[in-house]
Amino acid sequence: MLVKQNKPYVINKKIDSYFDGVYHAFKFVKRFFTEVIRPPFHFQEVINQSYEIGIKSLSLITLTGFIVGMVFTKQSRPSLEDFGATSWLPSLIGIAIVRALAALVTALICAGKVGSSIGAELGSMKVTEQIDAMEVSAINPFKYLVVTRVLATSLTIPILALYCSFVGLLGSYVNVNGSESSSLTMFYKNAFSDISFLDIFASVVKSIFYGFTIGMVGCYKGYYATQGTRGVGKAANEAVVLSMFLIFVEEIIIVQVSNWIRLY
């Protein structure tokens, strides 16, 4: 019979270890919610981490958001021209960027840049015993390292997503203005004409979920890194892959839920 530390496997080694992993991750998330409401609170560290995350991602989000807005406008124009509906371009781009693209693009960039950085940083701290050093100094490393980073990503990524919407629309305006001159004010007015409060609210809410996912996955992978420097690289890599996968899953769920709310 197969044995696990002298105990028999429930199904087999592979399936058992998969469910062990899921349970372990669940306990990690549960611990976050227990620790986040319990003092002491490290507000300064949350601010420091938010600043780090914001500054680290700002240039890439500016560039990507601007290009996405510009390219999306350029690609959409011929189709709308066929129907003589180019005047709907700002409104179409507004809906696409605010409802879907800005939050998703921001989350994917942050998963790559911030998620990997958190995974590598915590992984490196783990394998060099810096996390143990905190623990033996009576400092709760989970609270100081994990809670602060997850709060920082959950707070910062929605702000970055709103900024990405603004920059994306600016990129779109540059393209629109190149083809037919229009004022920036008029463009933004048209772009927001079909956007409701629910669209912006849903975008912010899903960005909070994305931020939480990126922070949590990065911290989880880093916090339990093993195998020395190889483990650090593995933690960073897995943090990116798993965050991106979960972001797409969340996107599908949140779109379904917001569409359902919109209908009722």
Binding site: Q5, D132, A133, A138
Partner: protein
């Protein structure tokens, strides 16, 4: 070699019949040991013999599968949260690779545990404590340097200073001289002795460096294959050499 004439009970660390396994690998097989107040105890053994596992149990980083570990009259396994933190504040742990926080300079490394545990301290008090700890390890000029810019010996000293800042009653050293040249090793040995004298600590020193054990410790416990083969003074352990002990002695003092 230090005299052990004035050593008296009660034990500050009492290990009773401790077992520990990792999967199928049995690391500790029912070991017992007492470390008395004011005593320096060396635990010698080959790499992978369970020395670091044992020291980590003393501070609650690992739990025994069976048996009891009492530190300062409290069973570590039964402590959680604030109680465990309170015990840990009375113990200093010097890591093998120093475990300095890479993102902080030396001053911040030392101030961090102090600020996190004593939030009511003023900036001047924190600065004074950091300077005092740096003087104790002879590195007062390094407070603005980053850990990456320090030598191996300096990193060990800063690691020890970081534990001293909390004024521990017990010091646990994990391989304090590993990876250091003989001159720096002897400086670390002198520092361990000085810490015991100034801070009145009891210490457990995990090492495979016999010079370190001989120069800093009152007693030695020889850990072989998960059990203590011999416990006693340096002479008691090494005067009657067996096949298991002589390779250690020969490597350190003959080769």
């Amino acid at each position: 070699m230090i005299s052990n004439k004035n050593i008296a009970p009660p034990p500050v660390i009492n290990i009773k019949n401790v077992y520990k396994s990792f999967r199928e690998l049995e690391v500790l097989k029912g070991i017992s040991l007492s470390v008395f107040k004011g005593e320096n105890m060396a635990i010698l053994g080959k790499s992978g013999s369970g020395k670091s596992v044992l020291i980590k149990m003393m501070i609650g980083l690992l739990q025994p599968d069976k048996g009891e570990v009492f530190v300062l009259n409290q069973e570590v396994k039964n402590l959680q949260g604030k109680e465990l933190d309170a015990l840990r504040l009375r113990i200093g742990f010097s890591f093998q690779n120093s475990a300095l926080y890479d993102s902080m300079n030396v001053f911040q490394n030392l101030a961090f545990p102090l600020i996190m545990n004593h939030k009511n301290l003023s900036k001047a008090e924190v600065r004074h404590a950091v300077e005092e700890a740096l003087v104790a390890v002879g590195l007062e000029s390094k407070e603005l340097q980053m850990p990456a810019d320090l030598s191996g010996g300096q990193r060990k000293r800063i690691g020890i200073a970081r534990t001293l800042i909390l004024k521990p009653e017990i010091m646990l050293y994990d391989e304090p001289t590993s990876g250091l040249d003989p001159v720096t090793s002897s400086e670390i040995n002198a520092l361990i002795m000085n810490v015991q004298k100034v801070y009145q600590t009891s210490s457990v020193i995990i090492t495979h460096d016999l010079t370190c054990a001989k120069n800093t410790c009152n007693r030695i416990a020889m850990l072989i294959d998960g059990s203590f083969l011999k416990v006693g003074t340096f002479e008691e352990v090494f005067n009657q050499q067996t096949d298991l002990i002589s390779p250690f002695y020969n490597y350190n003092f003959i080769q």
